[in-house]
């Protein structure tokens, strides 16, 4: 059980700043996702936690103690990479036992812990197989067992599900969650898939261009994104300009009532957003917070209807019910429910 703190962590490569003054606290036993498009600095951060890469400046702390001067092999931060998973020249059992062998653990004890760990990842009795005899998913699980068997302080997973097909992905996700809960190991995993991060992580650190955008529980990224870019990454491009005054926002389409206590933006110019699934396309005639829009396009998606609207010159995407019917070009009255309105800073 180890807590991890990143303090002003920075890494520059020649003239590119891959990670820029990253500040982050990971609680002991927490499962955190580093999320972002490729090249955003998430893997670089992971490598700095392991010590495979030294920071240009800043600090990494395990249990409040700086470990930047500790070499990788003594940190107890074990990393599982997305490819080249297993040592090809030795058996599965030897793979899992590798870390224990490095610790000079006695043979009998080693065998016991290896078989125990293979059972945990649901590959009992696989000790004598070779890496190339296993499927991709099995290799992934062996790699996980190999990391867990040394009781790491911190477990680091680089895109653990990227190379698996959809079914295996689901299975592996469950397994990681289950084991992580059971062993209580502080875990960080890197992913570019926001769905994966949302389903697996306790908290998500979203990074763009080496800069941390938001570090929060998954729900917050949907209901309280910190910027237009963050909202966009979580597939919300519904924006409407306005001016906040207390618990009201004045827009081109009239005054909207907001939950003032929920907002983080002060009075002044703001952007109003409501997620596609939160806009009400069929409000009661007397409902408040309604605005006029125009239907641009509608696509039947099976479980719902995706409707494109023109809201005061902005294109909004809204999820209607599967039986929603409207004609393209028709005006439509939509409701922006007061508790669902979120204000974003004007970028």
């Amino acid at each position: 059980m180890t807590s991890v703190v990143l303090r002003d962590l920075t890494r520059r490569f020649e003239n590119v700043t891959a990670v820029d003054r990253l500040n982050l606290e990971i609680n002991s036993g927490e499962l955190v996702a580093f999320l972002g498009p490729s090249g955003c600095g998430k893997t670089t951060t992971l490598r700095m936690i392991t010590g495979l890469l030294l920071p240009s400046s800043g600090d990494v702390l395990f249990d409040d103690r700086s470990i930047v001067t500790v070499p990788t092999e003594k940190r107890g931060a074990v990393m599982v990479f997305q490819k080249h998973l297993l040592f090809p020249t030795i058996s599965v059992g030897q793979n899992v036992g590798f870390g224990l062998r490095m610790q000079k653990v006695e043979k009998k004890e080693m065998d016991r812990r290896v078989s125990e760990m293979l059972e945990l990842v649901k590959l009992p009795g696989f000790e004598n197989r070779r890496a190339h005899q296993l499927s991709g998913g099995q290799q992934q699980r062996v790699a996980l067992a190999r990391a867990l068997v040394v009781h790491p302080k911190v477990l680091l997973l680089d895109e653990p599900l990227a190379n698996l097909d959809a079914n295996l992905r689901l299975e592996m996700r469950e397994l990681i969650r289950h084991i992580q809960r059971e062993l209580g190991i502080t875990t960080v995993f890197v992913t570019h898939d926001q769905e994966e991060a949302v389903m697996l992580a306790d908290r998500i650190a979203l990074m763009f261009d080496g800069v941390l955008q938001q570090y929060d529980v998954p729900q917050a990224f949907y209901q309280q994104p910190s910027s237009v870019r963050v909202a966009h990454f979580f597939r919300n491009d519904n924006l409407l300009g306005g001016t906040r005054r207390g618990d009201q926002v004045e827009t081109a389409l009239g005054v909207l009532q907001i939950d003032a206590a929920r907002q983080r933006i002060l009075d002044g110019a703001v952007l109003v957003t409501v997620r596609p699934e939160d806009v009400n396309l069929t409000p009661n005639p007397e409902a408040g917070n309604c605005v006029e829009a125009k239907v641009l396009l509608q696509v039947y998606m099976g479980t719902h209807t995706q409707v494109q609207l023109d809201v005061a010159g902005h294109t909004w995407l809204v999820h209607g019910t599967a039986d929603f019917q409207a004609r393209v070009g028709d005006p439509i009255r939509i409701q922006l429910p007061q508790p669902r309105i979120w204000l974003l800073p004007v970028s």
Partner: protein, 267 residues
């Protein structure tokens, strides 16, 4: 159909590889073999008896060639392994210049370079010495070592080493348990290459060895130019034996490790 084709290709390969050696074999047991007879009119084991006499210097040449080739192979590993790793896994200033320079000995005829080196070696007192011959053999050998091994390193990557490190393996353990086992098949093939290149050197050995260091090709050459075909044939069979052994060994390795030959794509 497919099977027949495969056998046909295999047969062609075997024939083209072995056919040139077959007449040598016959020659080495002949006393008189004149055109147009299909086989020698008189057979003899004299050429082989000659090979094993001290005056033939075949034994001396064989052991000199062997010693030089072994030393050259070890030196090639010593120099080539770190170089190929650096070229495969790191980016640094002047990298493409170094890659190009490594190709130069393959492009420039050895005799041209050796003549220049000869001048330098005279001043350094390296001519007519064993180590001088070894050093000059390194010139054509190192490019092959680096070509093969840089492709092996690039293919192997660093993830496994990094994994081992995070699992608690120190620098030596990473090398011993992860890097070395991973690159070993490629390293064996590359070493075979350098061994054979050194083994087959003639001009460089003559120029730098100055007749003091007698290698097998130097023993063989006078017989070929002197038209004593039976003796030349016997010695040439001694000369070609290691090559055939290496061919058999590497073809099995290459079958498994296709990445080994990848470096030649750069040529």
């Amino acid at each position: 159909m497919n099977k027949i084709l495969r056998w046909l290709v295999l047969a062609i390969i075997v024939i083209t590889a072995l056919a040139p050696i077959l007449p040598q074999f016959v020659w080495s047991f002949s006393h008189r073999w004149l055109f147009p007879s299909l086989l020698p009119s008189q057979w003899s084991t004299e050429p082989w008896e000659y090979v094993f006499t001290a005056t033939s210097r075949v034994g001396e040449g064989f052991f000199n060639s062997l010693a030089i080739a072994v030393v050259v192979s070890l030196l090639s590993i010593l120099v080539g392994l770190p170089a190929s790793r650096a070229l495969a896994l790191h980016n640094f200033r002047g990298k493409s210049a170094i890659e190009w320079l490594l190709m130069v000995p393959i492009i420039v005829p050895g005799i041209v370079a050796t003549m220049g080196i000869h001048q330098v070696f005279i001043r350094l007192g390296l001519t007519d010495t064993f180590i001088g011959v070894c050093l000059v053999h390194l010139i054509p050998c190192i490019p092959y070592m680096v070509l093969v091994m840089s492709s092996v390193f690039a293919n192997y990557g660093t993830e496994l080493e990094d994994t081992a490190r995070t699992l608690g393996a120190g620098t030596f353990s990473v090398w011993r348990f992860v890097t070395l086992p991973g690159i070993l098949p490629g390293l064996l093939v590359a070493t075979m290459f350098t061994f054979l290149i050194s083994w087959g050197q003639y001009i460089t050995t003559v120029l730098i060895g100055g007749g003091t260091i007698i290698t097998l090709p130097m023993v063989l050459f006078p017989f070929i130019s002197g038209t004593n075909y039976p003796n030349a044939a016997a010695i040439s069979l001694v000369f070609v034996a290691p090559a055939i052994l290496v061919l058999i060994f590497t073809s099995r390795q290459l079958g498994r490790e296709s990445s080994v030959m990848g470096g030649f794509g750069r040529l």
